[in-house]
Symmetry: C3
């Protein structure tokens, strides 16, 4: 599945796109001051704005962008949460980043797009719902802004839809290993009314990983029971 | 349609599930204290947590749970409202209940699942939208928490989607019989941005029932006009 | 596509409906006082209530209603924003209008329904998202209430989904002509969690039109890149 379109486009802002989550990456080399004034960004100091925008899957794009900002001289300015997934139970995402040099920002967006097949690895779908697991040994600016995770510490996401499955996944994950609970998000609290139960954890890298894997195991069984079919991921699981 | 899966599951939390609204029932016999701390429950005094979670249809699950808590030694702790319906115009639901004994809580969840074919009886769908009618002669804890209905009094729900149909249904219902209006919910007020107009009424049992039936009649005609086909229910109407 | 159903209906409130956005128009000649008390209307002084309600497309209905209130003795009382589009990335809408004479209100609703093929002219869809452009040389009550546009001045809407496309469209539009920015709406700010980036502008008629056209041009290219197919409108573009 080689679905990246690269910049032979006549639109200079275009960086790339992929069918994965219907994700598009763009860069505005010199943002208009009137627009910048209206954008909900954490700082107005950058005139180069990078954009990663998708219909499906906030987590994969946020984790992919987390690696991208580590590798480039850029900063995450805004993470927004549409209630989307094209009729599914979750979100899409809008991520804005800033930088001083258009080539840095374009590179960050490209790196994020290239990371998506990995960060989509632990997304499991069935006709009845989905599961999402994410893990990083060291959270950076995207994960921090999106989920409130402490920078430099391991971070894990354990998420199930419909949301009740996420409650049981969370309970199992916390009981499995000594981790710190950042928050538990649910349809009416901490989501954009998505049908997800999502536990956000931090702490020791081994413990966070172990908790995520335990949550995944029980989630796969529950979602399989609900839908009557085994939930499937489109790419290899990366959390091992 | 015998789609209840029962607990030969290897996951001990699983109670049952059904294709109706993609609804799953679960029970955590001893919830982790760190998770309980983060859950948005009305009281933290229960360590046994029951979960009813669906993609489609808040009303049917809430009314079904209302009967279940009447019949068991359990209490409704939380009702949350995802904007879901798998691309439709309404909600899904997350209901948490508490109890002191896992067998009580599992029984309450089972009773609620068994009630669903009845409470889905007055859900009418067409390609253009849906109608939902609910009625109980005596509201209990689920209907009280979800809709603000006075406990022990008759309660009725008159709901149409798209939301404008619900406005006319509400007007007709109120004019039909002397009832008390609890609230009128609409896309930007009192829903999770669903495309529903929903009247919640209370009062004398006969009057509430009559108002619900009158709202249903006008709603069926309007939704039929919009979609060009007669809206259909999947189970027999229970409000007569 | 002659899909307007007219009032041979047995429901006296029915005015008309169309497949365009699954839009239904209705009129309550004498609204119940208890219902009026609960409706979120800007004034309670009208007893005749007109309703325009849709599953898809707030903008087309709002612009269509804007022309209708100019042409009739009616007033816009409420604009609400479900997160709908039947699984798409945008909204639906609920519009309530008021008047003193049922024939005025019915006429306004009819005029709005008749305007829809025009105001749907600059809606472009692809499997990956959509674009919406709207323009009026002189904003009236519907556009004012819905978007905060100054009455009597030109108004333009430049909207793209997924939302990042709307950011680049907005930047291009503002740079093209000297316009006043009313606001920029995005998934977590100023929408009902839709996956849209939407710029609202006001000012000189020629400048607003030029900005809208420039935003459309870049949006069509970006959405075409994302989806791999050219976005299509179902009716002729009206902004020229």
């Amino acid at each position: 599945m080689n679905n990246f379109l690269n910049s032979t486009s006549v639109v200079p802002e275009f960086v790339g796109s992929t069918e994965l989550g219907d994700t598009i990456g763009m860069c505005i080399p010199a943002v208009d001051a009137m627009l910048l004034d209206k954008l909900q960004v954490s700082t107005k100091k950058y005139s180069v704005i990078g954009i990663l925008s998708s219909r499906t899957g906030a987590g994969p794009q946020i984790l992919a962008m987390d690696e991208a900002v580590k590798a480039t001289n850029t900063e995450v300015l805004d993470v927004e949460w549409p209630r989307d997934t094209k009729g599914g139970a979750g979100h899409g995402v809008l991520i804005l980043i800033g930088g001083n040099d258009p080539s840095d920002v374009r590179q960050a967006i490209s790196v994020a797009l290239e990371n998506l097949p990995r960060t989509f690895g632990d997304i499991y779908n069935s006709p009845a719902g989905h599961l999402e697991l994410q893990f990083t040994a060291s959270a950076a600016g995207a994960v921090h802004m999106a989920f409130g995770a402490p920078i430099g510490k391991a971070y894990g996401l354990i998420c199930g839809a419909p949301s009740g499955i996420g409650v049981v996944m969370a309970d199992t994950a916390i009981k499995t290993a000594g981790v710190e609970v950042i928050k538990f998000a649910s349809p009416s609290h901490g989501t954009s009314f998505s049908n997800e139960g999502a536990l956000h954890i931090s702490g020791d890298s081994g413990a966070v990983r172990q908790a995520v894997i335990a949550g995944r195991e029980v989630g796969l069984k529950l979602l399989g029971q609900l839908g009557g079919v085994e939930p499937k991921n489109d790419f290899p699981a990366y959390i091992k």
